[in-house]
């Protein structure tokens, strides 16, 4: 259970962004959660809500965007959404394909009321 620590890191980013908008208010923070990043979205949402409750950050909405796993074929460069852990390239049949998406744990955007 490290979602609370992740929630705290998100809140720190919100706080440092807020410093750059004196007089403004952060209303929303968007976070990309890759299928493979090892973070449970419900637990993170819950952890964030617990963290901001009864603080000045309570109005900040956490918007989690799920990013599925995408592979790129090492032979033909075809990109495909990986399902059921099947790494095979649907275009050419190659098994050696590289993960190029789905590991994200990134802050994507914030919304500020100036």
């Amino acid at each position: 259970m490290h979602e609370l620590g992740i929630a705290a890191s998100i809140l720190e980013s919100v706080q440092s962004e807020a410093l750059r908008h004196p007089g403004g208010r952060i209303t929303k923070v968007g976070v990309k959660i890759g299928e493979l990043c090892g973070v449970d979205r419900d637990a993170l949402q819950f952890g964030f809500e617990v963290l901001v409750k009864d603080t000045e950050w309570e109005p900040v909405v956490l918007d989690l965007e799920y990013i599925p796993r995408v592979q790129r074929c090492s032979k033909c460069a075809h990109q495909f959404r990986m399902t059921d852990f099947d790494p095979q390239c649907p275009q050419c049949g190659e098994f050696l394909t590289d993960c190029i998406g789905g590991e994200e744990l990134d802050i994507a955007y914030m919304e500020v009321d100036e």
Binding site: M1, H2, E17, L36, F85, F95, L105, D106, M110
Partner: protein
């Protein structure tokens, strides 16, 4: 309302510290490996056998993480190499800051190999880069073959999987072929070595892997310092 594109890692602070560590290791030709597994899969036992096989003058050191207790460090200190326990006091993973702090009174330039034993946990350590050259995941035969599918993140991020406790194969309902296949479904390029810390089986291959990786770290150092 104003939308600001941020595009930075949630664990940006950790990432920055990890990159600094990585750069220091690279400049000094130190190989750093990060061992990760569920609790009790045999990380400390493997390190006992590993240190035991090292030449006396080997420049190796170990940082071992646990929620509580100094037990693992005590087990490993017997071999005469520098060992330090990192007790996280409840945090379920090591982070780059803890590594940096515990390296403060060691001279990195005196090391060729730094081994980090992470806290026993298959989920959280996978999110925290420690600046290591390679993550190594251990899966023991007393766990389920489907672990790689249940915890894909760490199996994807690890270069090498050690299938541990293979001496138990005759006694446990564990299908090693299925386990290896599952690991490769998650991570097609995964290297896999079967080991037993009890019988010593597979340890030569593991030591050879380590040696090859250390040579690679040194070779990079040489190409980087050759004057033009």
């Amino acid at each position: 309302m104003n939308r600001i594109e941020v595009e930075k890692k949630v664990l940006n602070e950790n990432q920055i510290l990890a990159e600094q560590l990585r750069e220091r290791y690279r400049q000094l030709g130190v190989l750093c490996i990060n061992l990760i597994s569920a609790p009790g899969s045999g990380k400390t036992a493997l390190l006992e056998r590993t240190l035991e096989r090292m030449d006396k003058g080997s420049r190796v050191a170990v940082l071992t993480g646990d929620l509580q207790t100094e037990n693992d460090a005590k087990r490993l200190a017997k071999f005469g190499f520098p060992v330090k326990q990192i007790t996280t006091g409840g945090t379920c993973h090591l982070d780059a800051k803890m590594i940096g702090k515990h390296l403060e009174d060691w001279k990195l330039e005196d090391l060729d190999l730094l081994i980090v034993e992470n806290v026993g946990n298959l989920v959280c350590p996978s999110s925290y880069d420690l600046g290591e050259d390679a993550k190594i995941v251990l899966l023991s035969t007393s766990e389920g073959e489907d672990k790689p599918l249940k915890y894909p993140s760490i199996f994807l991020k690890s270069e090498l999987m050690l299938l541990t406790k293979i001496d138990l194969l005759p006694y446990v309902p564990f299908n090693a072929d299925v386990a290896r296949e599952n690991a490769r479904r998650v991570h097609p390029q995964m290297e896999i070595i079967d080991v037993s810390s009890t019988t010593g089986e597979g340890l030569d291959r593991w030591m050879e892997w380590l040696r090859a990786r250390q040579e690679r770290a040194k070779a990079k150092l040489q190409t980087a310092t050759v004057p033009h």
